[in-house]
Symmetry: C2
Subunit: 248 residues, 2 copies
């Protein structure tokens, strides 16, 4: 927990990933400075960090906003996740540690159990974890961090496009993936991964539903000291918007 700006960036990042801060939300320097009780400069440094990570866009002289990726960019993020994980599969051929597959199998079993209990929420989290475990098999911290960054951007998309997944099919594909890797059928595993992410992407629906914005104070879990600030958000509540359908 070195720099204050790092902490603040982490807090904002967490709020974005938890969808307490929705895409397009204004991240005013002054307001954030009051919330975190720091100077504007520290806030700006935090926003710079977040913008380098792709979670925030900074428009000169206009301010920072939670990133609102276009549908085209959303597709590219998923495609890049596919690329990385297909590459990971290709690498597994070099590593004769078949024992590591037990981790993947354990994850699949946990997800199946969660589904059997009707716990979609938990199943969804296990589903995400599967892909982390897969990349973790490389024991390559650079690749793991790269993958984590892509996943953050994917999490952002969940807030922008309503998503409903067929967890049963996703879990089933995870199981088949493990089996293919176990049998060293790399090409088919890669093909399945591609189909898998296409299924995930199909779970996202373009949606007119309003993205309800909470005031920053609530989103960031800080007690609002100056009640005036809550009223400041003059713009409007309904940033609803239809993404002009890309090539998807």
């Amino acid at each position: 927990m070195s720099g204050r700006s790092e902490q603040i960036a982490a807090t904002i990042c967490e709020a974005i990933l938890a969808h307490r801060l929705v895409p397009g939300a204004k991240l005013g320097e002054r307001e954030l400075a009051e919330i975190f009780e720091v100077s504007r400069i520290v806030v700006r440094q935090a926003l710079i960090r977040l913008s380098e990570d792709g979670l925030v866009t900074v428009e000169r002289n206009r301010g920072a906003f939670v990133a609102k990726p276009s549908l085209a960019e959303a597709v590219e993020v998923f495609e890049t996740l596919t690329i990385v994980e297909q590459g990971v599969i290709a690498q597994l051929g070099n590593r004769p540690r078949t024992s590591l597959l037990t981790e993947l199998r354990g994850n699949v079993e946990r997800q199946k159990a969660a589904l059997a209990n009707g716990n979609e929420q938990l199943a969804g989290e296990f589903g995400l974890e599967f892909h982390d475990l897969l990349v973790a098999l490389t024991r390559n911290r650079v690749a793991i961090e790269l993958h984590a960054q892509l996943k953050r951007r994917a999490r952002l998309l969940e807030a922008l496009y309503r998503c409903d997944f067929d967890h049963c099919q996703l879990c089933d594909e995870h199981e088949r993936l493990v089996a293919l890797i176990d049998r060293k059928q790399w090409t088919r595993a890669q093909q399945l991964m591609d189909e898998h992410y296409r299924l995930v992407a199909r779970g996202y629906r373009i949606d007119d539903e309003a993205l309800l914005m909470q005031p920053l104070h609530l989103a960031l879990g800080k007690p609002m000291k100056t009640p005036i600030a809550a009223v400041r958000k003059k713009g409007n509540g309904k940033h609803a918007q239809r993404i002009t359908g890309g090539e998807a």
Copy 2:
């Protein structure tokens, strides 16, 4: 050309990639502020950007330094490049645009011509460009930017470890790679890519050779306007320094 800190970050980045700033070099805020004629805060913002990119490490209360990756991390960077490009190859199966291979073929021809002329320097640059072109085939800007970032980190390694490449063999492998992609032999293409990067990695030699440090003024190509500044750097004029050979 928006933010000043962006420009400064770009300038420092360029100097690092050109090896005018060697790994481990101290990037003092005050000194950089004088060189670029801005306040320290703008410099700090630039350093934050660079640290998020992995080219600079910031140690709390000690300052910023050009990143000096360990050999382990160097291996991970190359492995991650392999992963991404293997994934790209897997993706090419989805895209029936065989015409795009002409770009790759053109690059290989240019590199062969450069080699025939004995221009190793130029051949090396074409060799790097080949991998950019390969990733560009995906037409995926997210993937392209990811790849570019990895390549920046790889360029940093060139400065840290002496490297001498067998450009002939590298070029030959590029040619074989194109042929395999053309014949849609994805698995073998991926295997070749893996071997290819292992060959590249073998070109790097761990080396105790001193990394000669230039003063920042020269490295950043700025005329020193205030002759006082030249003296201010009281330490000494010879920032030369022998890097204590790491854990390699």
